[in-house]
């Protein structure tokens, strides 16, 4: 065949579903493209958080005692709970995708609601933690007092943390800067995700996904799981530094 510009008829694909965009040859191509595009977007997200992970690694090595002390002011109960909440929401989202794939509208709506509720719970717990930091003067820049580490107060029912020398105590501000930057960016991703969840919920109730056009849900699923993965790393890095001390 010596005629490249002559057409190849897409006879194999017969009728196209209504939601297939005109420039795609087939539904499979559209689907693959969408999820590939989503993955590439997630790569940019990896690198976005990557910058902060690099900073974390540098300063953790430099100011290890400050990182330990800062980490010990975080509530391990709330942190663990939140990890559980987020993992569960990831699970409900995965179930949502499954329901959408198998065209179970009721299941999809339920999964989305559960995911939304769990996401809200996560943010709620996070805001409790943030509030606690604010009360304790642990918010870098705005309300920070290194002396709380030089003269640590004993929590009720617990022994006081060992005091830090002033110079190291001052470096806890670096820890909290990273803590707020990393969890803040993570929370921002959660908030964006919640907005999308509400949108999808409305669409699902309207029955927009009943025809099998579920690329949006699948790709959102990828996004949501990615947010979960970020937290899976943030949790041990921020909460679990030398808890045995």
């Amino acid at each position: 065949m010596d005629s490249p510009t002559v057409a190849l008829h897409e006879s194999s694909h017969g009728e196209h579903p209504s939601y297939q965009r005109h420039h795609f040859v087939s539904m499979a191509q559209q689907k693959e493209s969408a999820s590939f595009g989503m993955w590439l977007f997630l790569l940019t997200e990896i690198m976005f958080f990557g910058g902060m992970f690099t900073a974390y690694l540098v300063y953790r090595n430099w100011y290890y005692p400050a990182f330990v002390a800062g980490s010990h002011t975080l509530s391990i109960v709330l942190g663990t709970t939140n990890t559980g909440v987020l993992i569960t929401s990831s699970f409900t989202m995965a179930m949502g995708v499954w329901c959408a794939e198998t065209r179970r509208r009721g299941g999809l709506i339920l999964s989305l609601i559960l995911t939304l509720v769990l996401g809200l719970a996560f943010l709620g717990i996070k805001s409790v933690e943030y509030h606690e930091k604010w009360v304790q003067h642990h918010v870098p820049g705005l309300r920070f007092d290194a002396m709380t580490f030089v003269h640590p107060k004993a929590e009720p029912g617990q022994a006081a943390e060992p005091p830090l020398p002033l110079d190291m105590a001052q470096h806890t501000e670096v820890y909290f800067s990273l803590y707020f930057a990393m969890t803040g960016m993570h929370a921002l991703h959660m908030i964006i995700g919640m907005g999308l969840l509400v949108y999808m919920l409305i669409q699902a109730i309207r029955g927009a996904y009943d025809n099998g056009n579920i690329a949006f849900i699948e790709n959102f699923g990828l996004y949501w799981h990615f947010v979960d993965i970020v937290w899976i790393f943030l949790f041990p890095l921020l909460y679990l530094i030398s808890r045995h001390q």
Binding site: M1, V6, L40
Partner: protein, 553 residues
Amino acid sequence: MSSIVSLPDQSTARIPKRNYLTNENGILSWLLTGDHKRIAILYLISITFFFFIGGALAGLIRLELLTPQSDLMAADTYNKVFSMHGIVMIFLFLVPSVPATLGNFLIPIMVGAKDLAFPKINLLSWYLYMIGGCLTLWAMITGGVDTGWTFTTPLSTHYVNTNVVTTGLAIFIAGFASIFTGLNFIVTIHRMRAPGMTWFKLPLFVWSNYAASILMVLGTPVLAIALVLVVLERTIGIGVFDPTKGGDPLLFQHLFWFYSHPAVYIMILPGMGVISEVISTFSRKRVFGYSAVAFSSVAIAVFGFFVWEHHMFIMGVSNYSTLVFSLLTMLVAVPSAIKIFNWAFTLYKGSITFETPMLYAFGFMGLFTIGGLTGVFLGSSGTDIHLTETYFIVAHFHFVMVGGMLMAFLAGIHFWWPKLTGRMYPEKISQLAAVVTFIGFNFTFFPQFLLGMLGMPRRYAAYPPEFQVLNVFSTAGATILGVGYLLPILYLIWSLKYGKVAGNNPWQATGLEWQIQSPPLTENFIEIPVVTQDAYDYEWLERQKEREVTQVG
């Protein structure tokens, strides 16, 4: 002088009635378009606008440097002018220049697709770019920013009170425009190729844009987070880069250059793609060592991530990592050398004509060779000590970015102008413009190499009087260069109405884009083509023409 231009009979030729420009009318049909070709045109208009803003600022810089004293403007005004020149030129012109205009227009056609994979995201990319651009202008009008385009901490976070936050956000937003463009290209090139279009049948323009897209997607977010941290440090005072709080200001530079060095390749790689197309077409020959050129693009992209620290050799990084990064820098120079020689040998036993795009391509080869080789001066850590932070650096990256990229951009614009608009640009005056640009460029930037050797630091509003003569040469050259850049915009606009009708394939080139009408239909291809020929297969093209003749006959 003979040429390969084969235009249709101008008395009967018409621009096809139905094409992407005439498909819909009204301003909204442009602002809400999903058509990659229209978005390319939107991008073309906007980057030209920003190019001339950046160019005007460059003119101010050269005027100020005419005399040793800072007499045209005060030092802080000068600082704002060169900062804005850098920011506008890099983030609003060079990064999107070839990919967002020519790439947007051509990549889907070259791979045989009807559009990019995500038309709406493509449009979103343009809007993000415009928001970023307008914010930058807003920052400039309301007081400017004087950190330089590098936003070095702690200068940017604590020691200036100009619009760092606005500009930082603007670049953050414009960065996402670049990410979305790159993402779209990668998906399109992977997923939307026409039947038979294997990787090694792709034009080299596609390869080089693919490589650049990888850098955009993986590099830009690191710049984004670095800027976010700067903004947070400036507004609420967190302490990630602040040395008084225990932060390391060098960390910012690590993150910044992790993007901003690969950004150099984001800027130059698509330009190299243009050169491959142009040189092949005007020497009627397959690019010498197609796969070497293709792989060298990818090699540049991959190695590009491993060399960023050469911007920081004298800044107190560890000597040992300097060794590593210097070595890797030497390695990244090799693929560029390969490309230059492969292009030169593409001419060997070709059948060469000298239309404007080819002249620009020759200009590119000369200037990029100089720019690339002087890069080695800076990559070798010892000589870097003497030459860095001087005008040598300025000359080096202008040779690469302006002498290289801008030449390639102009080559590409002229080369594909018939495809974009359906009309030819006027040949004689554009050849003149190419020559004027080349001469003006050398006049402007070559003296700066000497200034750098002599040790004149960059970003100086006032300088010791002994440097004046070379600065006067440079400013004089800049006026010639300015003329060289004004000419194309004038005659290209003129040609929109009065240019000759170009026909489908005025250059007798082989790419898929030349086998369809000019300007193309909105859907590019009536039927998706099946590709059997290699890229740059001029014998295939001849057979095609013969067949058409016999069929018509």
